[in-house]
Symmetry: C2
Subunit: 370 residues, 2 copies
């Protein structure tokens, strides 16, 4: 993650993962989510924070999740339905449940199908925000499969040359197991910048680079600007401008709409903005395709070559997707998860108003913070 | 396609598709490709030209294909082998055949599997250049399926922050059927710019935009420059710079390597540059997931809303991937395929040296050329 999206060192409060997980689970339970589901949701969020994906952890979306459960926009006890099923595929209706809770089960179904017939693909409509799509892909990687996950919502993102938003920030994620090096884990919004990161930048008072966003009329803003508040900008697809490939980001976002929404019989948000989220999960059983040992040999060798790439002038090292997640996971597992004081304050207010015990904010020794 | 990649109107010679197909087939046959395969290859190339994807039609790669067949780098009569197979999956070895000829059969296998179990996924190693990956995806769309196709080769593209190329321009393509509007067809290199387009720009004497390519040390070139010759630049992943998401383009390119190379038991070109191309083909049977009529209703409605998007200032219209291909296909089916005189000259030299009849260059009336 770029520096402008990080909580400043002097501001951060470190919270142990176990304490955070406990509090998040209790918050979910308080709004009516059954304990096992609340545990799943808390685990997805806190694991995401441990991996350093602060934009999709507890800081940005948790307050929305709770509000939506309370307002009835999300259903804490959904009756998930399988609409159609074949040996390799299923389409599901999430009954307005929360994606971070429903995603793991949908990916597990794809994994089971992959184990039987080689690959499994599951599309789900009428679900809620998925959190980090990469988390779902990782569930497949943990079972020696390649996981792919896409999600669609919106409409928040401009199509190339457009002045009206049509697509969501529609992420594409994949994960693949390794033998002795950090797991290959890729998870990106199909925009120049993830919307959650823009919110984070606004909260942190950071600036935005040229062509990261468009003005409200749809023209890319070609100078550096202070991060505007939501509503004062439009999101651009990856590439930013047509000359730099925004049609590629646009088409990749549309791919998520195709596989998540169209295959599950959902209605795209560009046709009806009140529609819920849709997701797509794929698991590939590696052994259906090739020898697992040989796969591991080559994966580790390939990822080693990527890391051994000579850096361009001004850069220290070349990494691959998943290396930073791995390093951050190890550091935060020991040192705790850094949260902004405003987020801590929100936790305290919320647990207090719910009549729940406060978040345990055990401070981590300062010298470990270099 | 951006203007700088188009053959200038005053230079172009229009060739009817049937004449071009006939000559290309005869060239393939002359270097030892069996007639049915030569026909397949000619059809892929000429259809690609009809769709307006000049960078992947007859102009850029055909001369390489012929050279490689003659030099033994490609095998005109490969014994394609299925390595592993499950109801939904297969891995294959292409025996050094040409991808544009082998792709249609591999996608057909994926389609057959999808018809039986809902989705089919096929990975192929040891093949040749795939041409337009979108062509393979379209084969699924023509059978009321969603097609996805990726391909990996290289190493030509820098990883983010790297000074040494590691990945190919690794395309990602998909296609999805529609009822009454142009088919959704997406096919892009995971670089800022496709390498074939850079070659075309060099041949046409066009300029390159800032951050389209890096210098030979790996630093993105931040000013506009005349298109350099191959070898005088390095390719950047989609996004261009890290601040604009080059790590996303890098990870998407790596996805092609994962699904094409790792699943087929192939060796990535970054480990061994003499390795051949690898591909990945997926077909989703729409009816396994949802009602086909409902799907068509929503697809056409969604694509209609995308086209009805109010354009940003300075732009005439908003389209979706596949609209230009459709429009160009219709125009070129009637008016012929525009080729650069240098390409015509190459055809004439080649047919002459092979002892084959020359390409029929029937001129199209000038007034149709507005």
């Amino acid at each position: 993650m770029l520096d402008q999206f990080k909580v400043a060192k002097q501001d951060e409060v470190r919270i142990p993962a176990t304490a955070l997980r406990k509090t998040v689970q209790s918050l979910f339970e308080h709004v009516g989510v059954p304990p096992a589901d609340a545990e799943t949701g808390a685990n997805v969020l806190v694991t995401t924070d441990l991996r350093g994906i602060d934009s999709h952890g507890v800081s940005n979306m948790l307050r929305n999740y709770l509000t939506w459960f309370q307002s009835g926009r999300l259903n804490p006890t959904p009756a998930v339905q399988i609409l159609r099923e074949r040996p390799a595929t299923a389409s599901m209706d999430g009954d307005a449940g929360l994606g971070i809770i429903q995603g793991p089960a949908a990916m597990e179904l794809a994994i089971q199908k992959a184990r039987t017939v080689g690959v499994g693909a599951v599309s789900m409509r009428n679900s809620g925000h998925l959190g980090a799509a990469g988390h779902m892909a990782m569930l497949a990687a943990e079972q020696n499969m390649i996981g792919v996950c896409l999600s669609a919502a919106g409409p928040r993102v401009l199509p190339t040359f457009g002045a009206e938003p049509r697509l969501g920030t529609n992420p594409i994620a994949y994960a693949a197991p390794t033998r002795g090096v950090p797991v290959l884990l890729f998870d990106v919004a199909t925009t120049v910048i993830a919307e959650n990161k823009l919110r984070l930048a606004h909260r942190l008072g950071s600036t935005l680079q040229p062509n990261w966003v468009a003005d409200t009329e749809g023209s890319p803003i070609s100078e550096e600007i202070p991060a505007p508040a939501p509503g004062e900008y439009q999101l651009l697809p990856l590439g930013g401008t047509r000359e730099h490939g925004s049609h590629k980001g646009y088409g990749l976002g549309l791919m998520a709409e195709l596989l998540s929404t169209m295959l599950s019989g959902g209605v795209p948000c560009m046709l009806d903005p009140t529609q819920h989220w849709k997701h797509h999960f794929v698991a590939y059983d590696i052994e259906a395709f090739t020898d697992l040992d040989e796969y591991f040999d080559r994966m580790d060798a390939m990822l080693g070559v990527l890391r051994a790439t000579r850096p361009a002038p001004g850069h220290e090292r070349v990494i691959y997707p998943g290396v930073l997640d791995h390093e951050t996971y190890r550091e935060r597992s020991v040192q705790g998860i850094p949260l902004h004081p405003e987020v801590i304050e929100w936790f305290n207010q919320t647990t207090s108003s719910f009549g729940l015990p406060p978040l345990e904010t055990v401070q981590v020794p300062a010298e470990s913070d270099d």
